[in-house]
């Protein structure tokens, strides 16, 4: 190399061939071209916590929704009071608490034996007061909680995004009125809305979903509005406007894609909020009704018997907490992925 430097050949002064010219183009981006979502996904993959969370959420969703053919209505209404309140018993495991033994007034007692239950009966996570398998209940409860949360969040999205975009886009008087309406709605406690829903509609899942959707969309609308306000002044939007593009088309082509990261992140935070609120409703006594169950109902039932049957609270609580943590970490991960500025 060094020698070559001094050994200049005449052809060194020839213009470069076309292909070589491209190689050295300073404008050329060396990395492969990535779309926004590919880029986000690449960043998300680097975030181990978020990635694990994503898997946990997926696994929970697959297990709980995949259980539908096995845990159906007739399975849910079946009760076996003779198997009521048994602790966990896993075949082949001999750890107190998981082998059918439970602390009864401070002493580990084999509850299965005491109740004269055959040796081949096992309940992985024990049973509830009607002798339902708790494992089965938790899987089903997770499904219901997720369904409530996801459907409510979708409604939330639909109302919130539309409202936010319209409010932000129109601006002026419309915006002002719409913001007042949000203010009013968010100053009515959700509970009152739910109670009324439960009376107007049949108590149960539908009313809870509707109530959640009606009371929770305001945050989304606020955020979307703020974002729309700033997008509105962007040159490309201005350009589209000047070119006479219709408002709906601008909204759909320019606004929605640009707020999509907010939507996804906000969704990740809304889902746990909805799960949480559903649990709260169960405590107040107006949650999901039998034979259906939810994590909230299970927790509330467990909470009442904690002194004697702690496992009935612990297991659903652990599942709930894992689910909530997963959604939160995933939300954080997505936020960082979509908005690299906050990435550290």
């Amino acid at each position: 190399m060094a020698e070559e430097k001094y050994n200049l050949q005449p052809d060194s002064f020839e213009p470069l061939a076309q292909d070589q010219d491209q190689e050295l183009d300073s404008e050329k981006i060396a990395a492969p071209s990535l779309t926004f979502s590919q880029d986000a996904w690449r960043r998300l993959k680097k975030n181990k916590g978020a990635l694990i969370s994503l898997f946990i959420v997926l696994i929970m969703a697959i297990v709980s929704f995949g259980s539908t053919p096995f845990i159906n209505h007739s399975e849910l209404v079946k009760s076996n009071p003779e198997y009521a309140n048994l602790p966990a018993k896993i075949p082949g495991v001999n750890i107190n608490g998981l082998n059918g033994k439970m602390k009864v007034s401070g002493v580990w007692t084999d509850v299965y034996k005491e109740n004269g239950i055959k040796d081949n009966v096992h309940f992985m996570l024990g049973t509830d007061y009607l002798g339902h398998s708790l494992a089965q209940r938790i899987i089903y409860g997770t499904k219901i909680s997720l369904t409530v949360a996801i459907v409510a969040t979708l409604f939330d999205l639909l109302i919130g995004v539309t409202y936010g975009i319209v409010s932000g886009w129109k601006g002026g008087r419309t915006d002002n009125v719409m913001q007042r309406i949000i203010e009013i709605i968010s100053s009515i406690p959700n509970l009152i809305i739910v109670v009324l829903m439960l009376i107007i509609f049949k108590p149960g899942m539908t009313s809870i979903i509707l109530a959640l959707a009606i009371s929770e969309w305001t945050t989304m609308a606020r955020m979307i509005r703020a974002e729309t306000l700033s997008l509105k002044t962007e040159e490309y939007v201005l350009a589209a406007r000047t070119l006479g593009e219709s408002t709906t088309k601008i909204a759909w082509k320019h606004l929605v894609p640009n707020v999509s990261s907010i939507i996804i992140i906000q969704t990740m935070y809304t889902i746990p909020t909805a799960i949480f609120f559903e649990a709260f409703l169960s405590f107040i006594g107006i949650g999901i009704s039998a034979p259906q169950t939810s994590l909230g109902v299970l927790l509330n039932d467990g909470q009442k018997n904690f002194q004697f049957l702690p496992y009935q609270m612990w297991y659903p609580a652990i599942v709930l907490v894992i689910l909530m943590i997963a959604f939160n970490l995933l939300g954080d991960g997505l936020r960082d992925a979509f908005d690299p500025r906050t990435r550290r």
């Binding site: 009521a84 018997n305 002194q307």
Partner: protein, 541 residues
């Protein structure tokens, strides 16, 4: 109605609401003081005896006030303010000689206080929801209907200590009624001075019973009953004070019990199942029955086989022992066991109709299929309405499971657990298919239950109609009212018809499980009326 009130309280287990608790931690240092710490499951909403409607109020009134009689153990009538009672031969006039006694503010308590109290209660302006108990006292119904003046009520004071009560018709259980707080006296001056504030806080009250309330502000969660030194029989009152604490969570009250902050606590079903072998565990059975009402304005429930099938599909023994676990027992009929006896025989045993309350899977299936054919349906969707207390939820879930698993795919049960008053309204409006209702006796007589299912009774929500039944109930009140045995037979026959025809399906008789410290002695608990009487309660370490 009692049961409804329990439910109103939103109390977890509700039914026999008041528990006893004795002085715990503090007593060791001061043994001379007899103090009781007692758990309530709901606030005390009113101390106005004309307006009280709930079990907490009635129990508080029973311990701070006194009427002509006080109900002792097993609803035995014990002397109260009446020193001597004279009943006329036709049973329509009662003359009471009152003992000399004072209100807690020193005022003389006279026969006029009874007259004032009774008139105030039946006055429609007062809005007493328990005034119906005066039915039978002369002119009471007309006064409540606004047709007569309150002064025409059949009660009169002759001087200060003689009281005469006249009746329209014989009331066989009249003396028992007199032990119920609605019939206690009220101090006119105090009531009028307090105006609309009467009965809303301890400072607006005056008492004539064993205890008087302090620190009750109307909506707070703790108050104290202290010994009333003006009480005529104060030498037999041993407690110096009772501290009442409202805890709405059973686990909280049990935790307090374990740390001696409370000496008695009601238990939830699960707690009861776990503690049933403890030596401090006890169950208190209430004179209250839970039963199905079928909406018989619907064609399908007019079919007796359908009704029978639904009733027979339920394993009541499992319901009481495994699901409720609080000492509740399988009902023999509508009238609760232990409520009333004649010639030493319990009413519930005599009126027992086995087919009406038994569990028979095979028969249920058979009747169901036959019934379906008769009404021309292949599949039924049934809404099961009930309260939203924990126990109600547990029972409905079990009942749903039993019906669906016994009767198979041709039935679908939808459970609706709603707040108590909503349940009441919906029952009244006939907005249900199947409802689990509950009734608690106001006094220890079968009629307190059986009156409900006459054709025109407003509480017959299922609108079951049976002429024979109506006739028997009518006879018990009129032609046979004076003849104890005949009246008894009428009522036994009536209940047999009711259960045989499945006008309703009795499910279980309610009990409540408690933990009560063994040092607490002498609590009197009655299954009907105002349940608790602490007059003779004491603590023995």
């Amino acid at each position: 109605m009692k049961l409804k009130k329990f439910a109103t309280a939103g109390a977890v287990m509700a039914v026999s609401a008041l528990t006893l608790a004795a002085c715990g931690s503090k007593s060791s240092s001061n043994d001379s003081k007899q103090v009781l710490n007692w758990d309530e499951t709901a606030e005390l909403p009113s101390m106005d005896l004309s307006k009280a409607t709930d079990v907490v109020s009635f129990d508080q009134l029973n311990n701070t006030m006194e009427g002509l009689y006080r109900l002792g153990k097993d609803s035995k009538v014990e002397p109260g303010l009446a020193k001597k009672t004279h009943v006329s031969d036709d049973g329509l006039t009662y003359t009471f000689d009152l003992r000399k006694s004072n209100w807690s503010n020193g005022d003389k308590l006279t026969a006029k206080d009874f007259v004032y109290s009774w008139q105030r209660t039946v006055d429609p302006k007062t809005g007493s929801q328990y005034a119906y108990l005066f039915d039978g006292v002369k002119n009471a119904n007309d006064i409540m209907d606004g047709k007569k003046k309150t002064s025409e009520l059949g009660i009169k004071a002759d001087g200060d200590y003689k009281l005469t009560v006249t009746l329209d018709k014989k009331i066989p259980y009249f003396k028992l009624l007199m032990g119920f707080p609605v019939f206690f006296p009220q101090n006119e001056k105090v009531v009028k001075d307090a105006g609309s504030k009467y009965g809303t806080a301890s400072k607006y009250m005056v008492y004539n019973g064993p205890f008087k309330l302090t620190k009750w502000t109307g909506s707070n969660l703790s108050w104290t009953a202290t010994k009333n030194n003006k009480y005529w029989d104060k030498k037999n009152v041993k407690l110096d004070a009772i501290n009442f604490k409202v805890n709405k969570s059973n686990s909280t009250s049990y935790n307090l019990y374990k740390t001696d902050k409370l000496d008695g606590t009601p238990l939830s079903s699960e707690q009861a199942k776990q503690l049933k072998n403890d030596k401090e565990f006890l169950t208190r059975s209430a004179a209250s029955t839970f039963y199905f009402q079928y909406n018989q304005t619907q064609k399908r429930f007019q079919n007796k086989k359908i009704r029978q099938a639904l009733s027979m599909a339920i394993n009541r023994k499992q319901l009481t022992n495994k699901v409720l676990g609080d000492g509740s027992t399988v009902s023999k009929g509508l009238v609760s066991k232990g409520l009333a006896k004649n010639d030493g025989k319990d009413f519930a045993d005599q009126a027992y109709v086995k087919e009406g309350v038994e569990y028979n899977k095979a028969e249920a299936k058979k009747l169901w299929q036959e019934g379906l054919k008769e009404v021309g349906e292949t599949k039924m969707d049934i809404n099961l309405l009930s309260d939203d207390t924990d126990k109600a939820k547990d029972s409905t879930e079990f009942v749903q499971s039993q019906i669906e698993s016994t009767l198979g795919d041709s039935v679908n049960v939808h459970v609706q657990n709603v707040p108590f008053k909503t349940r009441l309204t919906r029952s009244e409006q006939g907005d249900f298919d199947l409802v689990i209702s509950a009734w608690g006796a106001d006094f220890a007589d079968p009629i307190s239950f059986l009156d409900l299912f006459t054709s025109d009774n407003s509480q017959n929500d299922g609108e079951w109609k049976n002429a024979d039944y109506d006739k028997l109930i009518q006879a018990s009140k009129t032609t046979d009212a004076g003849n104890t045995d005949k009246r008894w037979d009428d009522l036994v026959q009536a209940e047999k018809i009711l259960v045989q025809e499945q006008g309703i399906a009795p499910l279980y008789q309610q009990s409540t499980a408690w933990m009560v410290k063994s040092k607490v002695k002498g609590i009197i608990y009655n299954s009907s009326g105002a349940s608790y009487n602490f007059k003779n309660t004491y603590i023995k370490e």
